[in-house]
């Protein structure tokens, strides 16, 4: 249990009399690709913000990378990477400057930043664009760069909030190649998406409905359980079932 990247028990967040996240309990193993699904407004973002140490829970417990989300949020922030759908790099800095900036934020030494920059540019084949403003890159490249920067400091967990929205189908798959590669190195991936084919790429999936986790299993397990041909069918059955 201590080896798990994320452990939550009855994690709850209320805003006034509205319960956004309602007693969710789950575990994510180290190196697992965990899909965190749910309809708009189901409570995914709230749960994710608590796990990242950005929002204090109303009740319940959770540990992320072994740290408590009430008392050790600063340690958590150092051990995680985060990438949102809304592009989170600085558009008016160059590719290289962005890498340098985030490397500094994460406390990497100059030598580490130099080495990481070289590796990252080679991996993404962005050497020629290193001096270009990020604003000049196509969306798909930005998203790949954004992911690579989110794992620059070798975090044990990376949170991805709809990382592939609007990205073309080839780049979307290249993005998942990066995810697989990181998971293969032992990084835990916690990802939300509206593409149900991407849900299939996850080791396990949870589906949130109205603040609660309604289902949690492997994609094939869920399809069997709901007698569905695809994850899209599973999702529609669950999200429609609400009163």
């Amino acid at each position: 249990m201590n080896n798990n990247a994320i452990v939550t028990k009855d994690l709850t967040k209320r805003f006034g009399d509205f319960t956004a996240t309602n007693a969710i309990t789950f575990e994510v193993g180290q190196g697992e690709i965990f899909g965190f699904l749910g309809a708009n407004g189901a409570g995914k973002t709230t749960a994710m913000r608590m796990l990242c140490g950005l929002l204090k829970p109303s009740s319940g417990e959770a540990k992320v990378a072994g740290y408590d989300i009430y008392t050790q949020t600063e340690q958590i922030k150092k051990r995680i990477g985060y990438m949102s759908q809304k592009f989170s790099l600085y558009e008016d800095l160059t590719v290289k400057e962005n890498i340098r900036f985030y490397g500094g934020i994460y406390g990497l030494s100059n030598r580490q930043i130099k080495e990481k920059t070289r590796q990252l540019l080679a991996r993404l084949q962005l050497e020629k664009e290193a001096g270009h403003l990020v604003s000049s890159l196509p969306l798909g490249w930005k998203q790949k760069l954004s992911f690579s920067i989110a794992v620059l400091h070798d975090p044990s967990i990376v949170f991805l909030d709809e990382p592939t929205g609007g990205v073309d189908p080839i780049t979307r798959r290249q993005f998942w190649d990066l995810i697989y590669e990181s998971a293969d190195k032992g990084v835990t991936i916690f990802v939300t998406t509206h593409y149900m084919d991407e849900a299939e790429y996850c080791n396990r999936i949870s589906i949130m409905v109205d603040g609660k986790i309604k289902a949690l299993d492997t994609p094939s397990g869920l399809k069997k359980q709901y007698n569905a041909g695809s994850m899209n069918d599973v999702f529609l059955q669950l999200a429609r079932a609400k009163s």
Binding site: D168, P169, T171, M231
Partner: protein, 304 residues
């Protein structure tokens, strides 16, 4: 008369070619989809057709009227739902709808028949400010506002982007019913699976149309067998397949990989056999719009 005619439209922003030689027509009562990722040029095209932007070259007619010379008339006759939510966040549902009706010199009551079915779904929240609505509800309100003056043509720019699968399905069900009322609809989306819900689609990427056809014909034109493959360690399978010369393309498609070959399947099987993949499964697959889109993208990339 064709409700929308687009002829050889070009548009650049500085060095960036946003649209390159775009031509197509949309027929009476047709539901026509512009399918492509962010940055393909979809919104630029909408803005030209909605008379908010001038093309560098080419002509376009909406409802028989020229987008440059007759822009005032066009603005009265089209319903346009832009990609960004652009209603008044601090006005309520009711106030927004009345506002748009008034702007177009009409009343909500006059054309209520057209929006009734959609409006009834959000009517319980009529007094709520638009800024406080969920994504799905905002989208329904925006559609009502675009329809309240009974437009002759409807432009919907990425109405389902960032929306969950349930709300997306509901939205497309609404479009199918609107279509039966005879309004031609031009709709854009980055979700390839939505293409099959259109009568015809244009696949657009990097400012150019790669193909225009019915979804069925696009898939039929794929022209080569597709194999679905999976194994216990799918990441390793991808790598092994891509390393093999006879594999033309290998992409993840949900649970399986979609693989195309320029060699016999038996060669691939013989190649994979000694690599020790557990639970290896290979079966024929039916290509979809996304397969076709990626194939066309690759052809386009090879040309440029």
């Amino acid at each position: 008369m064709q409700p929308i005619i687009v002829e050889n439209i070009h548009k650049s922003f500085g060095d960036v070619k946003a649209l390159h030689d775009i031509s197509f027509t949309i027929g009476e009562g047709e539901l026509f989809g512009l399918i492509g990722p962010d940055g393909a040029g979809k919104s630029t095209l909408f803005r030209i057709l909605a008379t908010l932007l001038l093309a560098d070259e080419g002509n376009a007619k909406v409802n028989g009227r020229d987008v440059v010379k007759e822009y005032r008339t066009i603005r009265r006759e089209v319903g346009y739902m832009p990609g960004r939510f652009s209603l008044y966040q601090d006005l309520t549902i009711e106030e927004n709808l009345n506002f748009f009706a008034t702007i177009f010199n009409t009343t909500v009551e006059e054309n209520y028949e057209l929006i009734k079915e959609i409006y009834e779904q959000i009517a319980p929240f009529a007094k709520r400010p638009a800024g406080k609505l969920s994504g799905g509800m905002k989208q329904k309100l925006a559609l009502c506002c675009a329809l309240v003056h009974k437009p002759k043509v409807l432009f919907l720019d990425e109405p389902t982007t960032g929306v969950d699968p349930v709300s997306r399905k509901e939205f497309w069900d609404m479009l199918q019913r609107l279509k039966t009322k005879g309004i031609p609809i031009l709709v854009s989306t980055p979700y390839m699976d939505e293409a099959v819900l259109c009568d015809r689609v244009a696949l657009i990427q990097k400012g150019a149309i790669m193909q225009i056809n019915t979804p069925a014909n696009i898939v039929a034109g794929f022209g080569m067998p597709v194999w679905a493959m999976k194994a216990k360690n799918i990441y390793r399978l991808i790598h092994d397949l891509r390393a093999f010369k006879g594999v033309l393309s290998c992409y993840a498609f949900g649970e399986y990989l979609h693989v195309t070959l320029d060699t016999e399947l038996d060669d691939v099987k013989a190649y994979l056999a000694p690599l020790g993949h557990e639970a290896l499964e290979i079966k024929p697959a039916a290509p979809g719009i996304e397969d076709a889109f990626m194939q066309l993208m690759q052809e386009q990339n090879e040309l440029t």
